[in-house]
Structures are given as C-alpha cells and as structure tokens.
Amino acid sequence: MKRPELLAPAGSLEKAKVALMYGADAVYFGAQDVSLRSEVASFPLSVVHELLEFAHGLGKRVYAAVNGLPRDRDLTIYQERIDSLVSSGVDALILASPALIEWTRARHAISIHVSTQHGAANSIQIDWLKNLGASRVVLPRELSIQDIDALHRIVSPELEVFVHGGMCSAISGRCGLSGYLSDRDANRGMCAHSCRWNYTLCDSLGNSIDTAPFSLASKDLEALALIPKLMEAGAASLKIEGRMKSVHYVATVVSAYRRMIDSAMDQTVAGLDTLRSAIRRAENRETAPGFLEGNPGASGQIRTKSISAEGNDFLGIVTKTEEDSGLVWVDVRNKIVLHDRIEALRVDGSTKEFIVESMVDEAGEPRSVANVPRQKIGIGTTCRLSPYDILRKVNTWNDPY
C-alpha cells in the first residue's frame, strides 16, 4: 500500500505553515480573484513566494487553485494568473475548466489537477481530462469508496479524495442557489451557503406540507475511520477542506489525519475516539462519512441549526522562544491569565500541560492578563515549548455527541 499524500487547506500564510508543520505533505491555496474562496482566503503572489520557500524547505508541495469558472471577460485575468503562478514555482495548478487545462498544457509543463468543481465521476471523463493534460483528478464528493476503488483500477491519473470538511449539498459545479438568491456565484468563489438557509416544503399551491424545516444542508465530512480503506482503494491524495477555518482547526485536523495515515501504514491502531475528540475541540459541527459508505440518506443531512462557531479553547500560537530570557512568545487569540494551566498541542500531535508562571508584553512590562487578539505576549514557563505549538485550554470539554 502506497502512502497517500495528506493535503491541507492554506487559507493564509500562517495556516499554510501550520498545516505543513503539523504533518500535511502539501497545501493548496486559492489564487487571488480566480479561485473558489473569498478574498479573505486567497493569496497574492507576494505571499506565494514565501510559502513556496517554506514548503520546499521542508520537502513539501504547494498547489494553487485557479478553479473558478471564467466568463469571457475574465479569461485574460485567469490566463495571466496561470502564467504568473507557473513562473512562481508552484508544484501544481488546480483547474476546473477543461478549456483552461488544455490552454495551460499547451504553454506549460506544470502538473495539472482537475478540481472537483468539474465533477469527473467516471473513467471516460477522467481519461479525456488526462488527454487534455491533467495528471490528477479531484473526485466528486458523491463517490463511495467502492466507486473510488473501481476507478483506481482503470484510470491512470492520480485520484484525490476529500476526507474532511464542509460538504456541498449539491453536486459541485451544479449549484446556482447562491448566485440566484444572493447574486454571489458559487462557481466564482462567492458561495453564500444558501443551502444552509431556512426552507420549508410545500405543495404546488404554496401550502406547507409540514412544519418541520426542510434540510438542504449536509453534515460536514469526517472520514477518519475510513482512511485505511481509502488507502487500499488507491486514493493518492487525501484532502482536507477548509481554507476559511482557523489555525487551531488546521493544526488539529491535520494532526489527527496525519496520525491516522501513519497508523494505517505502520499497521498500528490509532485512537479513533481520541482523534475525533481532538477535532471537536477545534470545531463542533455535525459530521458524517458523506457518500464514502454509500448514499447517506437522512443521516447525512443537518436537522437542526448547526453550531459552527469555534469556541474559545484556542488561546494562541507560539511564534518564537528565547533561550536567554526563557520566554515563550505567543500570538494571542483568546484570553490568557497569569497562572493559567494551559495545554500545548505539539507539531507531532502530542500534548503537554504547563502553568503560565509569568507574562510580559512586547515592551517588557509585566501583565496579568492578555486578552487582545493578535497581541504578542511573552510567557515564562519551565515547560519547553517550540514555535508552532498551539496553546489551548486544558481539556475539560464535554463531548455533546
């Protein structure tokens, strides 16, 4: 069995670095103006260079998503963006448009991955996309492990499979809800998540059939337990969704999947419940295995209003340590109080508890509380911490599921 790539979202430079440090083999980011995530999570070229240097220094890869569907007036900017990204040295482009795949292949030797937005669900399509120039296909989230296994046996491009994160309720690329209802075209990176709004079912005259809300929205995907089967089915890359998620989420989810993949390779048993609990500390949306075990039916739908907000568990991230002063510098995200007991999630997935013995601000002034997000604070502790350690509250959290 070949070790699959673990591919993580890069919603920002910081998140990309965290993902790579916590075990991702590669990260993908949205190219500015031409990908499927809002401007908040897309990268200007100036940042791409720094990311490439960081990733390549670790022997890891960076992919750029240019997966919006351009209109005629957009074609020039898409083509210019592709040229620039290739020049920058990204390891692959993720494209949704077959025409842009063909156009890119005619000009550049770069690896091309077909976005799930194109919806290549059978071997004839995949072979055609390969002939256009694609080396990898990101499969639709509607395929089962059995489907993936069957495709793997008959097609030559690598197959990339989503394993964690948000699930479109519709077939990707085939949803016009957001564009129609809020003038935010999902195929050009502006999805308003209209499937999560409140709907009711009625008859043709508009009479409600029942009072229960009609669920269009799907539970998030979580495939930790299915990783060994996906590896056996030939998935070359296991993809985590969520360029808009937090650093805490990225670190926690990547770490959990890293451990699950490594356990499957080493044929050891990963603590599934522990890994799931860890993920729920970073985000507590309802999850399901999607279509990986077959059509999920009602169990795949969100029945109640989903709680998607991250809690205040995430306290900060270690940015540097000072040998001389013994201080650990932290980029603060939630309130840290002097003498707090804090847990550090390390890049190898282990955790460590420590006490905040002293705190100073950047001017060296003692502090008893740090409660301004993005404030830099130096913590004194006897515990040995490292850059990229994620600091969070000690786990007293009750699992609600």
């Binding site: 569907l69 351009p70 209109r71 005629d72 957009d74 074609l75 448009s97 077959p98 025409a99 842009l100 063909e102 156009w103 919806g119 669900a121 059978n122 071997s123 004839i124 399509q125 055609w128 509607e142 395929l143 489907d147 069957a150 495709l151 309720s169 519709a170 077939i171 690329g173 085939r174 949803c175 016009g176 809800l177 564009g179 129609y180 209802l181 075209d185 195929n187 499937c195 709004w197 409140n198 709907y199 009711t200 079912l201 009625c202 008859d203 043709s204 508009g206 409600s208 059939i209 229960a212 009609f214 669920s215 269009l216 799907s218 059509n295 999920p296 039916g297 009602a298 795949g300 739908q301």
Partner: protein
C-alpha cells in the same frame, strides 16, 4: 444567419401538432434511464413512437440525457446511445459531457449538444467542445443575456440558450425521501425560503437525483427580435409550468398571437 430553432419539451404526441402550430420547431424527449427528476419516465418504444410522430408533422426530435453519469452508468449509457443512433433523431442534448465523449469514441452518428446548465461560461469552453466532437453547447444559465450573446458570437460552435424555469440545483442526495417517509409520484412539491415569502422553488427527485428549479422564468428581454438572435436553439423548459402557461410562453416567444 439562420433563425434559431425553438425546441420544446413534450412526451405527449397528442399535443405535437398544437406545439408546432404555436411555433415549436422541434421536441425534446427524455432518454429512458437518463431522465431528470422532472421528466416522465419513458421506454425505448415510447421514444420511437414519439420520434415518428414528430417527424410525421415536420418537427425535429432531439433526445435528452439529463443526468450525471457515474462509472456504473457507462454500460447502460453506451447501450442507449447505440439504440438511439439507429433512430431518426436530430441530435442529443446532455447534461454530462460523458455522453458526447462516448458517442465520439464509438463513432456513433449522433449530433451531441452539451447542456450542463452551469459549466459552459465562456467561448473558450464552448470552443473546446467543438474540438472534441460536440455539435453545440448551451450556455450557462448564470450568464446574462449580453454574456450569452458574446458567447454565441465568439465561440466556434453552435450555441443555444435555455428559457423558462431552468435548473438551479442538482444533488445526488435524495432530499425529499430524507425529509419524509414517502413521496407522492403525482404530487408536485416546492420549497419556500423564509425570507422570500410568496416565492416557490419547484423540487423533484427520482431514484438518482434531486433537482430544484428557479422560481422565476428566464425570458428574452423585451423587444428582442427572434429572427436576429445568434443562437442555434432556444430551449423552452417546461418543468414547473402548467400546460396553459407553457403554450402561452411558446406563443409569446414566437410572436404568434393566439
């Protein structure tokens, strides 16, 4: 420039003559096993009968494959395409490019038009289809009328547009069955969104997919001259409309007062 063909959806030969009188140039008939959730299921015998009936009165006849094609659909798809290629059809409209790729690789004498509703957004995309055996494309329903004109003007392939309550959403999830234990085959359903009172979005599902339509119809801008449109086909979608409204829209489209 040729006048666009006006294509209508029908599975009832009894109304073909009336459709022609109201201005239809051709009918679209769903292919057995590849219907959309809003289509009535037919047999190949039904299809043969409808083709004959259309041709007898001078209507073109096209078949539709309005479904996403997964790996286990390939064998039935190839069988259906082979059957259809022996019939007197004018072409095939498909939601999934696999249909055209299959027809091309099998060298079947079928004119295939790619109509995915959402994915053909530029002339570059449309022209790619021309180089891979497709006879035409239908532009994305998200395009403005002006963008559709640009697409038709620049693409090296015949371009059509869809009118009526076009599909808005397609899912492999069977949402009606997930919501209630049984669904009526005769009842029509719609969704209401809480902040848009009075607006209803038709929804239907079959064993394979759920589809939701727009609540409002796509119509040509006022004052448009039918004959001068640069499109090869105007497809007047029927789902979500009653018969009376459908005939009225057809009549309006062709400018033939009734």
């Amino acid at each position: 420039m040729k006048t666009p063909q006006c294509l209508v959806e029908s599975t009832r030969e009894s109304e073909f003559l009336r459709l022609k009188e109201y201005g239809a140039d051709g009918v679209l008939v769903p292919s057995p096993g590849f219907e959309s959730p809003f289509d009535a299921p037919l047999t190949m015998q039904d299809v043969q009968r409808l083709i004959t009936a259309a041709k007898t009165i001078g209507l073109s006849c096209y078949l539709t494959f309005d479904r996403i094609v997964y790996e286990d659909d390939l064998s039935p798809l190839i069988g259906a395409l082979k059957d259809i290629s022996t019939m007197d059809v004018d072409g095939v409209f498909c939601a999934d490019e696999t249909v055209g790729l299959c027809a091309t690789s099998l060298h079947l004498p079928l004119s295939v038009v790619y109509d995915p509703v959402s994915l053909v957004t530029s002339s570059l995309e449309a022209s790619l289809c021309a180089n891979h055996g497709f006879k035409g494309v239908v532009g994305s329903a998200d395009l403005s009328f002006q963008e559709s004109l640009t697409l038709a003007d620049r693409a090296d392939i015949a371009v059509g547009i869809s009118l009526g309550k076009v599909p808005l959403y397609r899912s492999k999830r069977l949402l009606l069955r997930a919501h209630m234990s049984s669904i009526s085959q005769t009842k029509t359903y719609a969704l209401k969104e809480e902040t848009r009172p009075g607006r209803m979005f038709p929804i239907a599902e079959n064993d394979r997919e759920t589809m939701i339509l727009r609540d409002q119809e796509v119509r040509l801008p006022n004052g448009t001259s039918y004959a001068s449109l640069p499109f090869a086909w105007l497809i007047l979608r029927r789902a979500g409309m009653d018969d009376e409204t459908y005939f009225q829209r057809l009549s309006e489209l062709r400018g033939l007062p009734r």
